[in-house]
């Protein structure tokens, strides 16, 4: 069961900041994660982060009917990132565009290192990420929710991949840019990690940064990932908790 929150109260922060929503530079937007929210899918998860609302369904490992995609020694992992037409300010035309195709690809690559694909040769694991509402940072939200959905589906993994972005807005390096900060901001750096080892499975950078600023943003994003990682675990335990 999902409750959709609207008009959430923002976390009050002690660190002074000039961010529009009153957050400190290293604050995440309010978030929540739920596991097992859909009936038909083998695994599912719902995530809210600020104004983002993302639903993920996992099917598989299941039979792959397209022979040319088949891998003889492992499962294929297919991710599809899709935005609902009503998820953005101007109605988005249904169907994939260049942006969503790229995000689908890097999402697969971000998650793949964590999955024991070799356990299921010739099969497929399908991850469907649906953005129901977008407010900056949906690709990271999708990856974080996808890991929870994969765990919920019983797919064996080395770790739960988690993602978070940092960037530069109004001359300051900040964590988890909102849509407004991203639009007027100088840079955005989405990062995904496997938290136990700290290995990075996704990195993009869009904008202008000095190498010092980049390092600061990277560290900040990793810290943000660790906070979300805790919420991922709690969501899964809560699903089965007594």
């Amino acid at each position: 069961m999902i409750t959709i929150l609207t008009n959430k109260i923002l976390n009050k922060s002690s660190t002074p900041s000039k961010r529009a929503d009153g957050r400190a530079s290293d604050d995440l937007r309010p978030f929540k994660i739920e596991a097992g929210v859909l009936e038909r899918a083998d695994g599912s998860a719902y995530l809210e982060l600020g104004g983002n609302k993302v639903m993920v369904a996992v099917y598989g490992p299941r039979e792959l009917h397209i022979r040319r995609l088949m891998q003889p020694d492992r499962a294929v992992l297919r991710c599809r990132y899709n935005m609902a037409p009503f998820s953005v300010d101007d109605r988005k035309r249904p169907g994939p565009d260049r942006r969503s195709i790229e995000i689908s690809k890097i999402t697969s690559e971000a998650i793949m290192p964590a999955v024991f694909l070799e356990r299921f040769p010739r099969s497929t694991i399908d991850v469907f990420i649906e953005v129901l509402e977008a407010e900056g940072g949906t690709r990271c939200a999708g990856i974080t929710a996808a890991s929870v959905a994969l765990a919920d589906a019983g797919v064996p993994m080395r770790d739960l991949v988690v993602a978070c972005a940092a960037g530069k807005s109004d001359g300051e390096v900040v964590l988890d840019l909102s849509e407004a900060e991203d639009k007027d901001g100088e840079a955005d750096v989405p990062v995904a990690i496997m938290p136990r080892t700290g290995e990075i499975t996704l990195l993009q950078s869009d904008g202008h940064l000095t190498s010092e600023e980049f390092e600061k943003a990277l560290n900040m994003a990793i810290d943000g990932c660790m906070k979300l990682s805790k919420a991922q675990k709690e969501a899964i335990i809560k699903r089965y908790g007594d």
Partner: protein, 267 residues
């Protein structure tokens, strides 16, 4: 991917209905639990999340300025689109809408349009030039049977929840006031009621497994006054005239009850 229904399941469900039962203990005129929430997507002009049993649909509306159709220069445009996204069921494939999805969109659209739920003339800004186009997008996220009734219920609720910016004409130019939002001119309500034929009987609100074994289906769109605004027969087998007439009578009672789930239009 084709889902094949085991023969013994078909038999068992047919026999249950013949004995007056259903697998989930419902009566023939009983809907599953219905949950309807509105205003769930802030970025949409109107939105609703509807659940009938485990079937779940997100509906969002968007408004855009556009040109009217040349044969109706003084009315706004209502467009309904649905996507059976692969999240919702193992046999839904990615790609352009297939025939099931197009049927769902068109049936929902006809029910809303023919019932004249919106006073589309009020959505005309400059005759022949500028009108409001209202998009109703149905995002099917969990498919557990009876999408039609859920789609119409969700669309109706989302339209009732919709607020669009005020548009004025100043010196032949359209001026949009984003700060001032006004509700859509809703003048009627319509909902849909679907029966599946199993074991020689018509049962309302078929679940997924009931849909998988049904021989045919009849969906009836109805306005508050009990008049019919649209119908759609589906499935591989025929229905008798008598069955259809009886279904219409039953849907009068059922639609009335379904209406109670709609939020009251208090504007």
């Amino acid at each position: 991917m084709v889902i094949i229904i085991p023969e013994i399941i078909k038999e068992s469900l047919n026999n249950l209905v013949k004995n007056g039962d259903r697998a989930d203990d419902r009566s023939f005129d009983q809907y599953r639990d219905i949950v309807l929430e509105t205003g769930v997507i802030d970025k949409a002009e109107g939105s609703a999340r509807v659940k009938i049993g485990k079937t779940q649909i997100m509906v969002g509306t968007k408004s855009q300025l556009g040109e009217p159709f040349s044969d109706t220069p003084n009315v706004g445009v209502l467009m309904t689109n649905s996507e059976l996204i692969p999240m919702a069921a193992p046999d839904f494939e990615p790609g352009p809408p297939d025939e099931r999805s197009v049927e769902l969109s068109r049936v929902t659209d006809r029910c809303m349009r023919e019932a004249k739920v919106i006073d589309l003339e009020k959505l005309c800004i400059i005759e022949g030039k500028k009108v409001w186009m209202i998009f109703v997008d149905l995002h099917i996220i969990d498919y557990d049977g009876n999408l039609m009734d859920a789609a119409v219920l969700g669309s109706m609720a989302a339209l009732m929840n919709t607020k669009i910016p005020e548009a004025k004409v100043v010196d032949d130019e359209v001026v949009i006031d984003e700060e001032k939002k006004i509700p859509l001119p809703i003048k009627e309500k319509a909902l849909m009621c679907t029966f599946a034929k199993i074991g020689g009987e018509l049962i309302v609100d078929p679940s997924l497994e009931e849909e998988q074994v049904m021989s045919s289906r009849i969906s009836i769109g109805m306005r508050t006054d009990g008049s019919i605004c649209s119908m759609q027969k589906g499935g591989m087998q025929p229905l008798t005239k008598d069955e259809i007439i009886k279904a219409v009578a039953r849907s009068k009672v059922l639609t009335k009850k379904l209406m109670e789930h709609l939020p009251q239009n208090k504007q």
